[in-house]
C-alpha cells in the first residue's frame, strides 16, 4: 500500500448470531489479501479478529469490528456492548472461561480467546468496564514484515 494511503471500514456484530459468526473476520481477511498485506500477517490478523468476533457473539448483545490499514500498521478494534470482564488477569489465563456449556458444546469457550489474540498479534490493548462493555485494539506491524515476505 502506498505511504499516503489508508483504508478503513467496519462490520456490525450481533450477539448470539452463530449462523453468521466469523463472516466479519472472513470479509476482513479478503480485504487484507486484496490490499497486498503479507500472507503470514493476513493469517495472524484473521485468527485474532475471529477470536475477538467470537467473544462478541458469545458474550455480548452487539458490537462492531473496525479495521484501519495504513502503510505501517493494521489496527483492528472490536467494541462490544457486553458484560465486561471482571478479572482481566484471569481472562488472560489459558483455560479460564465464563462461556456457558452449550457454547462449549459447539467447540468454543475453551478459555483460549484472549491468549490466542495475544499470541497472534504484535500488541493488543483491552479496555473493559463491567456492566458496560469491552474494547479490544489489536495491532500488527506491516512495514518490516511486508518487506520480509
Amino acid at each position: 500500500m502506498p505511504e499516503s494511503c489508508s483504508m478503513e471500514g467496519s462490520f456490525h456484530l450481533m450477539g448470539g448470531d452463530f449462523t453468521n459468526a466469523g463472516s466479519a473476520s472472513s470479509a476482513l481477511k479478503a480485504k487484507l489479501i486484496n490490499s497486498g498485506v503479507a500472507q503470514s500477517i493476513v493469517r495472524r490478523a484473521a485468527i485474532a479478529a475471529f477470536e475477538a468476533e467470537m467473544n462478541v457473539i458469545i458474550h455480548a448483545v452487539a458490537g462492531t469490528l473496525h479495521y484501519l490499514i495504513t502503510a505501517e500498521a493494521l489496527t483492528i478494534t472490536v467494541t462490544d456492548m457486553g458484560p465486561g470482564i471482571e478479572d482481566v488477569k484471569l481472562a488472560m489465563q489459558e483455560g479460564y472461561s465464563t462461556a456457558p456449556d452449550w457454547v462449549r458444546e459447539m467447540g468454543w469457550g475453551a478459555g483460549m480467546g484472549l491468549p490466542n489474540i495475544s499470541k497472534h498479534s504484535d500488541l493488543f490493548k483491552l479496555d473493559t468496564v463491567v456492566g458496560e462493555g469491552t474494547t479490544l485494539e489489536i495491532f500488527f506491524h506491516l512495514k518490516e514484515r511486508n518487506a520480509d515476505s
Binding site: F18, M54, A110, K119, S121, L123, F124, L126
Partner: protein
C-alpha cells in the same frame, strides 16, 4: 480499566517447516472417506490438526493442514478458512449440518466424512507419514 499486552508469540522457530505432503485423494482412500464437498482440484496435505476445540484449531492449525474433528457445525469451516486449512474430515460418521455444507461449498473447503473414530483416523494418517500441526504444546 485499560490493559496492554505485548505479543506472546514465538513465530520464528516453534515448529520446523513440514516437508512431507500427501494428496488428499490418498487420505480419503486410507480412511475410507466419503466426500461431501469437493474443491474440484488437487489438494496436498502437509500436516494434521485433530481437535474438537476451535480455539485449538486457530492456535495450532497450520496452512495446508487437514482438520480432523467430530464437530459438525459451520464454525468449523470458518476456522478452517481463517487458518488456511483446505480440508475438513468428520470422524465417527459425523453428519454435517446443512449450514456447514453450504459454507464449505462457498469457501471451497473440502468436506469429508469417515465412519472411523478420531483416534483410528489419526493413527492411520500418522502411520502413512503425516504428522501433527503441533508436535508439542507450546504453552
Amino acid at each position: 480499566m485499560e490493559h496492554a499486552f505485548a505479543s506472546t508469540s514465538r513465530w520464528s522457530s516453534t515448529f520446523a517447516e513440514e516437508v512431507y505432503a500427501m494428496n488428499l485423494s490418498k487420505i480419503i482412500e486410507l480412511v475410507k472417506g466419503t466426500v461431501i464437498i469437493d474443491s474440484g482440484g488437487e489438494t496436498d496435505i502437509t500436516s494434521v490438526c485433530s481437535a474438537d476445540l476451535l480455539s485449538n484449531v486457530l492456535r495450532y492449525g497450520k496452512k495446508g493442514a487437514l482438520l480432523v474433528t467430530c464437530l459438525n457445525q459451520p464454525q468449523v469451516i470458518r476456522s478452517a478458512e481463517i487458518s488456511d486449512i483446505p480440508a475438513v474430515l468428520l470422524a465417527l460418521g459425523g453428519i454435517p449440518e446443512k449450514d456447514m455444507i453450504a459454507l464449505a461449498r462457498e469457501k471451497n473447503i473440502v468436506l469429508i466424512t469417515t465412519l472411523l473414530p478420531m483416534y483410528t483416523t489419526c493413527g492411520i494418517l500418522y502411520i502413512a507419514g503425516l504428522r501433527s500441526c503441533a508436535e508439542e504444546c507450546d504453552a
